[in-house]
């Protein structure tokens, strides 16, 4: 039976699969040019969902359709093998073949699909050039840094002309220093390629940076799907609020002579250790914000005077909303500290956080 044409040109998934502790049941669509950040705690079924799209995990029921072509349909008994789906799949830690050189890794897909050796080599060098890893062509993966490995894995995936990019924790294997720059690189590459892209992450900051849309997942179910603003401004339930419960600011960024970034949010100036210029969104975790009665002269650069608008009790911790001029800042402190400081609505406090805690979403 020929594949039924649909009007969808992106990736469409509507699948269920019984896992050990819960059932994965997800319906979502990712259009070309869209990057869906699939975020949720470890073990919530994100990786399995990617593997369902790749074709290495088989759903119990449902459909997977890519650009009108049916990849999986439990009713019609269609299950295209992974090698016949064109997915650009990066597993966790990138899955480079350790016994092959960078060039051989990148050329692998073309060779597997029957392209001649010389032509595959040429294609591999073109892509390596494009991703800035040409000089590493003869290295083995063990000798590469995390960022270089990611580029090799991306080049390898792109060499087989994928219709969709599926990235599993692409930033988790990187240290904090390279993470920000790799994130910027990845974001611009994904935008440039314009492929439907799914990025799996357990890190809210990565999700907010990379995703044009964000899907929050828990125990195999999608809790909320929406744009960054939709999710941060109107979290559907306490889980989403708690998981993504970040302070998000929009402002004008300038780089200071000492390398720090100053972000003007209205009349408030904030300092960040991430480099950014122009219109910028920046986030700080509520748990990174401390409260004090005095303007403590410590190492933290951001010391904001404000007054308490409200307190939300979350069990062992208290979320304190602090109004600092036009900024509304959430700080999460222990119940014990809140009691000891005698925090009450209307009182004035200083909210303090380090420049390294304020992350720029570029």
């Amino acid at each position: 039976m020929p594949n039924q044409p649909t009007d969808r040109d992106g990736l469409f998934l509507d699948v269920s699969k019984k896992l050990r502790d819960f059932t994965l049941a997800v319906a979502l669509e990712v259009r070309p040019g869209e990057c869906l950040a699939l975020v949720g705690p470890t073990g919530c079924g994100k990786t399995t969902l990617l593997r369902v799209a790749v074709g290495t995990a088989r759903p119990d029921a449902g459909r997977v359709v890519m650009a009108g072509q049916v990849w999986f349909d439990s009713h019609r008994g269609i299950d295209l093998s992974p090698e016949r789906r064109h997915t650009g799949y990066l597993p966790q830690e990138y899955g480079l073949f350790p016994h092959l050189t960078v060039a051989e890794n990148v050329a692998y897909g073309a060779r597997a699909r029957g392209v001649g050796r010389a032509q595959a080599r040429a294609l591999a060098y073109d892509l390596a050039e494009r991703l800035g890893i040409a000089e590493l062509a003869h290295e083995r993966p063990a000798r590469l840094s995390g960022g270089q490995r990611q580029r090799v894995a991306l080049a390898r995936a792109l060499a087989s002309k994928p219709q969709v990019l599926l990235l599993d924790e692409p930033l988790a294997a990187l240290d904090m220093q390279t993470r920000a720059s790799v994130r910027i690189f990845l974001k611009s590459l994904v935008e440039e390629l314009g492929l439907p892209t799914v990025v799996v992450t357990h890190d809210p900051v990565d999700a907010l940076t990379l995703g044009t849309r964000i899907a929050v997942m828990r125990d195999g179910q999608l809790v909320q799907v929406g744009t960054r603003e939709e999710i941060l401004d109107a979290p559907r339930d306490p889980f989403v609020a708690d998981f993504l419960g970040l302070n998000l600011f929009y402002g004008q960024a300038t780089v200071l002579p000492d390398g720090l970034t100053k972000i003007a949010v209205g009349s408030v100036g904030l300092f960040s250790a991430d480099r950014a210029t122009g219109e910028t969104a920046a986030v700080v975790l509520p748990t990174d914000v401390t409260l004090s009665r005095e303007p403590v002269a410590g190492s933290a650069l951001n010391v904001l005077r404000g007054h308490i608008e409200g307190l939300t009790y979350l069990g062992p911790t208290v979320r304190v909303a602090v109004r600092c001029q036009e900024l509304l800042l959430a700080a999460e402190v222990t119940f014990h500290s809140a009691e000891a400081m005698g925090l009450r609505p209307g009182e004035s406090v200083y909210a303090i956080f380090k420049a390294t805690s304020l992350r720029c979403l570029t």
């Binding site: 090698e83 799949y89 990066l90 016994h99 051989e104």
Partner: protein, 264 residues
């Protein structure tokens, strides 16, 4: 603490290497020329080398797919099969020899029908091979399987997503990455086949030139001529050393995982 460890190591080495040193010290060059059993030794050596190599090649061909199944496929009764492969390792080979005789001997459960057709397996060179195979191949399966299992599954998934069919994934990813373990398994299998004694004695007998391998020849000679037995033991020792040296060389030369030629 440090001296205790050194002392322990030295004691261990003395215990393990002592017998070998004793053989080397006891070889009397004068007996070499008068040894009446030189022809016997030659036949036993050739037979041992021949059978052990045949068995090793057969094991790799027949048992690699089995190791692959055990390493990757999920099926009912896999745990039981997994355990059963280990049982021959734990049994004295002599017991396996008894079992082989009961099964394939002239009056054995299957052997009697073969005998009626004029085919005899027990007490032939074929029996030597069968005995060595039954004793040595479980080692191969066990070692190769653990090596194959150590290859991360995501790598195979990625290879599939890049367009490689399962067979190609095996040839270009799984086998090259498990190469060292498979080589080690092959060497262990060969070493075990060379030193096989119990099952061979039971099932293949002790006929010079037909079923008398080196260990059997040494055992027989020991009963009436210690000097010759010592000399033969020394030959066996040289044989084993040469074998392991060759194996080391192979491991160093080919143990590093590479794609099979032409695949990339």
């Amino acid at each position: 603490m440090r001296y205790l460890l050194i002392a322990l190591t030295l004691t261990y080495l003395a215990a393990v290497l002592g017998p070998m040193v004793a053989i080397v010290l006891k070889v009397d060059p004068k007996t070499v020329r008068v040894a009446h059993s030189l022809e016997l030794v030659r036949m036993a050596l050739v037979l041992t080398l021949k059978t052990s190599l045949i068995v090793t090649v057969l094991t790799v061909v027949l048992c690699l797919p089995i190791a692959i199944c055990l390493a990757r496929l999920e099926f009912r009764g896999k745990t039981a099969l997994d355990m059963l492969v280990d049982v021959p390792i734990a049994l004295p080979p002599l017991v396996l020899g008894v079992g082989l005789l009961l099964l394939w001997g002239r009056r054995g459960m299957v052997g009697q029908y073969l005998d009626a057709m004029g085919i005899q397996i027990s007490f032939t060179t074929l029996a030597v091979c069968v005995a060595q195979f039954v004793v040595a191949s479980p080692y191969f399966v066990r070692i190769a399987q653990s090596g194959l299992q150590a290859v991360p599954r995501e790598l195979e998934d990625v290879a599939r997503s890049l367009g490689a069919r399962p067979l190609r994934v095996w040839a270009t990813v799984t086998l090259p990455m498990a190469r060292e373990a498979i080589l080690a398994a092959t060497i262990t299998c060969w070493a075990r086949a060379v030193s096989e004694f119990g099952a061979t004695l039971m099932f293949a007998g002790n006929f010079p030139g037909r079923s008398q391998t080196m260990p059997l020849a040494i055992y027989v000679t020991m009963q009436f001529n210690i000097e010759d037995a010592v000399l033969m033991s020394a030959i066996m020792l040289v044989f084993a050393l040469a074998g392991f040296a060759a194996a080391q060389h192979l491991l160093r030369r080919y143990g590093r995982p590479r794609a099979l030629a032409g695949a990339i």
